[in-house]
């Protein structure tokens, strides 16, 4: 399989990015829902959020890589009726926009008081909206937290729609939509 996309197939880079991000994003959602209800004395009380912040920042990097790769590569032809390809485009756009908003709001929760985010005790991501730079935004962490939470639920709704549409195309229309994101050749 080649690295780059063609007008009919996804390349390896796109496929790896897609599934890696899919796994991380669904995992981050689960971890997020789980960690916010942990009791103070739970072993995961600090580890959960540390992992969530670290993985979240890595998703942010992957997101930028993914969009850059998308700009530099041809996009495989979409299949289906006109409204279906229109909806698929809108869905892809929404996923990117919501993802960016979630990543940014999550970053703002953790950096609201000027503290950096440390990815796996390794790379420090500085707080840019720190107190001395933009002035004290009243309870930024609360506002960003609400955005982060509700957009994450919205994202899961979008992801479900996106996944169901892919399965529908694979199983009912048999147009290999899901298969080509798995690197499979069409059987027809």
């Amino acid at each position: 399989m080649q690295l780059r996309n063609t007008s009919s197939h996804y390349g390896l880079v796109n496929i790896v990015l897609h599934w890696l991000m899919a796994a991380m994003i669904v995992g981050l959602f689960g971890l997020g829902v789980y960690m916010v209800d942990l009791d103070y004395y739970d072993r995961w009380y600090n580890k959960g959020p540390d992992l969530h912040r670290s993985l979240g920042m890595i998703v942010a990097v992957l997101l930028v890589l993914r969009l850059s790769w998308r700009c530099l590569n041809p996009h495989p032809q979409m299949t289906g009726k006109a409204w279906e390809t229109y909806a698929a485009h809108r869905m892809a756009q929404s996923l990117y926009i919501v993802l960016f908003a979630i990543v940014i709001s999550g970053y703002l929760v953790s950096t609201a008081d000027g503290r950096p985010i440390v990815i796996f005790n390794w790379i420090e991501v500085p707080a840019v909206l720190s107190l001395d730079l933009f002035g004290d935004i009243n309870r930024l962490e609360d506002k960003a937290g609400l955005v982060h939470k509700w957009l994450s639920y919205l994202l899961m709704v979008l992801v479900s729609g996106h996944a169901m549409a892919a399965v529908k195309h694979q199983v009912i229309d048999r147009d290999n939509t899901l298969g080509r994101m798995l690197g499979l050749k069409s059987r027809r």
């Binding site: 103070y40 004395y41 929760v109 609201a112 008081d113 309870r139 962490e141 609360d142």
Partner: protein
Amino acid sequence: MKRLLVRCVFILTALSWNTLLHSEEYIIDTEGMHAAIQFKVKHLGYSWLVGRFNNFDGQFTFDEKRPEKNQVTVNIDVRTLDTNHAERDKHLRDARFLDTAKFPKASFISDGYSVINEGKGILTGTFTLRGVSKKVDIEVIHVGAGKDPWGGYRRGFEGYTTLHLSDYNMAKANTLGPEAEKIEVYLSVEGIRK
């Protein structure tokens, strides 16, 4: 003319006596922020976590002759809780603890004052937090009073009290451990006489 002058002096003296007999009214100087509401809670039982409420306002009266008439009212914007850690503050403001979206205000309204000795007393009153009102005693110490350099008159107190997390219906309060159940509160107020 002389009689008028005498009468004027008499009335003025009477007026000033009147003000002396009446209690003095003070506004807590939160504008210049010569006041603070701080709290500390044991962390795991190993150290103190210190925080404060940044926004509040209040007033008090002071009657030297009849101290039992002293009255204090303080309103606190609970949302301005500040423990110098945004994520923890967010967590404490959350519905599991203070639920500040639903209960943004806390208040203390005193209904009695008893003198222990000169400059020291117990202020009794109702403290309302998270929609729950509880009787609270605050140990009060008079710090000082006098003219300020800018033409005003000020008077200051400090106060100590202990609150209990379990009193205020917080869903997750018990998960913080038994040592975190007690909250030590320190108040410092300076009033500017009206």
